[in-house]
């Protein structure tokens, strides 16, 4: 559930891009940052190591407009993918409103995708959340590469019941990036309608 500020008439939502190291999370944010109108975006922050791998998080605030008189803000975060940054991932998941799971379509990253999905489920559970009940979309990234696995095979593991919206993407060229973001934003905002 988002942060609703009646006084400032704002809805603030936290969206997290999750997935194995080097699957393209930062690339998604960079593309969004480049394409979005100057007025709609804040500064993109990357806390990265020298080798450009995300150390703590990337952060991109977006302010896309109003819904029913409320300014709608999205705070996009990525998590570091490497196994040893699990502490950082837990912290970034705090208060998450929705997750994009970015899978790396390359065959050799198959196991890494599954591990990362397990890790997501486990870390959410630690804060009392079930992935099942959280707005979540799946992105099969790097579709442009020759060693990309068939989508059906990835889907069979990552979205077995087909309950999630899922998208094919090539984040480095921007294909599928906005479709993914929009689908998640929709789920998160429509969630505000629900009552117990």
């Amino acid at each position: 559930m988002a942060f609703i500020n009646y006084s400032a008439r704002e809805i603030n939502c936290k969206l997290v891009y999750y997935g194995p190291g080097l699957c393209g999370k930062t690339t998604n944010l960079k593309f969004i940052y480049e394409k979005i109108a100057e007025s709609a975006k804040g500064k993109m922050i990357s806390l990265a190591t020298e080798s450009e791998r995300t150390l703590f998080f990337d952060f991109l605030p977006l302010s896309l407009g109003e819904i029913r008189g409320y300014k709608t803000r999205f705070h996009l975060y990525t998590v570091p993918g490497q196994v040893f940054y699990d502490a950082s991932r837990k912290l970034i998941l705090k208060g998450v409103d929705g997750v994009v799971f970015v899978a790396d379509s390359q065959e050799e990253r198959y196991e890494a995708n599954l591990e990362s999905m397990d890790n997501l489920v486990g870390n959410l559970r630690e804060q009392g959340l079930e992935l099942e009940r959280l707005p979540c979309v799946i992105q099969y990234n790097k579709r442009d590469l020759p060693n990309a696995m068939p989508v059906d095979e990835l889907r069979a593991e990552l979205n077995p019941q087909g309950k999630r919206h899922d998208f094919e993407a090539s984040a480095s060229s921007g294909k599928g990036v906005f479709e993914t973001l929009k689908a998640l934003a929709k789920l998160v905002l429509l969630d505000l309608r629900r009552s117990k």
Binding site: M1, F3, N5, K14, R68, K94, G95, L129, S195
Partner: protein, 165 residues
């Protein structure tokens, strides 16, 4: 509701919070005050805000608190409740209020660490009381009826419009 509620802040409470923050700015001779949720959302601000990227500040402060929180656990501490960063010109005094709200005070040579610490202590008690109420109201919204209007009426079209252009 499917998720743990984050925060629903009603106008009356927001006003109370801003009033405490403004008073703290003047009593502590501070430059600026920020209240940030541990999730990185900016809740209120007061003082000289010119030139400060408040959204980035909120996100990084929350990240910092989270990281030092992890550090505290390694050492067997629950949390480090007070943080102080000294700069050449501006300094930062950071404390936790009501467990999940971060109070950030920015001050310069017009004030001192001692004064800031003293005033923060008093303001924190007041803020904690207000936030306890805010958390209760947030929980009540979700246990009872949901957010209601205008959120109950959000349509797919509304959301499509956000992304059109």
């Amino acid at each position: 509701m499917s998720l743990t509620p984050q925060l629903v802040l009603f106008e009356e409470d927001h006003k109370k919070i801003v009033a405490v923050a403004e008073r703290l700015v003047s009593e502590a001779n501070a430059k600026a005050i920020f209240l940030v949720d541990k999730n990185g959302q900016l809740i209120a601000e007061a003082g000289e805000l010119k030139g400060i990227d408040t959204t980035s500040l909120a996100s990084l402060v929350a990240g910092n608190i989270a990281a030092t929180g992890g550090l505290a656990k390694i050492l067997g501490e629950e949390e480090f409740p007070i943080h102080f960063h000294q700069g050449a010109r501006d300094s930062l005094h950071i404390t936790l209020v009501a467990q999940r709200i971060i109070l950030v005070v920015i001050f310069d040579e017009r004030s001192s660490l001692g004064l800031v610490r003293l005033r923060v202590k008093k303001a924190s008690q007041r803020l904690a009381e207000i936030f306890e109420q805010v958390f209760k109201k947030t929980a009540a919204v979700f246990d009872e009826k949901g957010l209601g209007a205008p959120f109950a009426e959000i349509s797919e079209q509304d959301i499509d419009n956000l992304f059109s252009d």
